[in-house]
């Protein structure tokens, strides 16, 4: 009985570990196959002209991180970036296309529309300095498909009882 249990555990454990394994275990030089083993299939793949690729791993809606794994033309990892941070968010600027924004920050947690239906709103949740829960909105003009405003907020987790 015990052996069956431990055998099951032995079978399950690697799967559980893979699910938990973060990108911190993916290091530069790792192969594309190793990335897939550790992180699973990417949500999206961007191919560059020079043969390099960027693989996107959003951890939302429950996670607050999105990883971009860059593979060189040799299919080895060049770098791993967590893009839901001020470093990347501050690169947003008015006039960007949806594709440019997607490449910069990855898939939004949610997509909404304004009441007048002339705006498309992409939203992300992220964490600042590890503790502040933040919400980011990128508002696009639906007709032109360009970014028209960017705003970020700190969520008051005290529900108005902060004082």
């Amino acid at each position: 009985m015990n052996t069956i249990f431990s055998r099951c555990l032995a079978l399950l454990l690697p799967a559980l570990l893979a699910a938990c394994a973060g990108p911190s275990t993916v290091n530069p030089g790792a192969s594309a196959r190793e990335v897939e083993t550790v992180m699973g299939a990417p949500a999206s793949v961007w191919k560059n002209a020079d043969g390099s690729e960027v693989w996107e791993y959003p951890r939302g809606p429950f996670g607050v991180e999105t990883y971009m794994v860059t593979l060189g033309p040799d299919r080895a990892v060049r770098e791993v970036r967590q893009v839901l941070s001020n470093e990347y968010i501050s690169k947003l600027h008015v006039g960007m296309s949806r594709d440019e924004v997607r490449r910069l920050l990855g898939r939004p947690r949610d997509i909404g529309f304004s009441g007048l239906n002339d705006e498309e709103i992409w939203s992300w949740r992220y964490r600042e300095s590890r503790v502040r829960n933040m919400e980011l909105y990128a508002q696009f003009d639906r007709r032109t498909g360009t970014l028209k405003s960017i705003s970020r907020f700190q969520i008051d987790t005290s529900d108005g009882k902060r004082q």
Binding site: I111, S114, M134, S149, I150, S151, F153, G160
Partner: protein, 164 residues
């Protein structure tokens, strides 16, 4: 120079509009309806109760941070004037309430957004509480009932960009 003057004038006009030139502190309990209208203009919406009492809603526009509710008795005299964009009223918004319950409590939102994937409708008000903040009510869009509320502090980018 002229451009600078024009800009200053425009800013002044905007801040006056935002502050709400209408002076609600000039309304006192007992004032008749026509006096209220003369002082602060026609309401944005009127809510009539079964007992003949009424509430007049005065949202101060999307740049402003105040919404006033003037409550009249069945005798059409003012009972009270409330500025409703604050915690006293926000804390009364509870899961399950209808859109109309919310509207009657804190007035017209400055903005409504839809999120189809979550079947959610978000109503937003701007308010002031130590800093400028946003209060959001999240509705189940199909049911038309409140799911939750969210208070947000805007963190401006260094170049001052942001949603206002």
């Amino acid at each position: 120079m002229i451009t600078a003057l024009l800009r200053a004038a425009a800013l002044l006009a905007l801040s006056l509009a935002a502050a709400g030139c209408a002076n609600f502190s000039a309304i006192s309990p007992g004032d008749p309806a026509p006096t209220v209208e003369a002082r602060v203009g026609p309401p944005g919406a009127v809510w009539k109760n079964a007992d003949g009492s009424e509430v007049w809603e005065y949202p101060q526009g999307s740049y402003a941070v105040q919404t006033f509710m003037v409550a009249f008795g069945s005798d059409h005299a003012v009972r009270e004037v409330r500025q409703v964009l604050n915690e006293t009223y926000f804390s009364r918004i509870l899961p399950g309430m209808s859109r109309e319950d919310v509207r009657r409590l804190i007035g017209k939102p400055r903005e409504i957004w839809y999120f189809p994937a979550r079947d959610e409708e978000t109503w937003t008000w701007r308010y002031y509480d130590v800093t400028y903040r946003f209060f959001n009510v999240l509705f189940d869009r199909s049911e038309g009932t409140v799911r939750s509320t969210l208070r947000l502090d805007e963190i401006l980018f260094l170049d001052g960009r942001g949603r206002h």
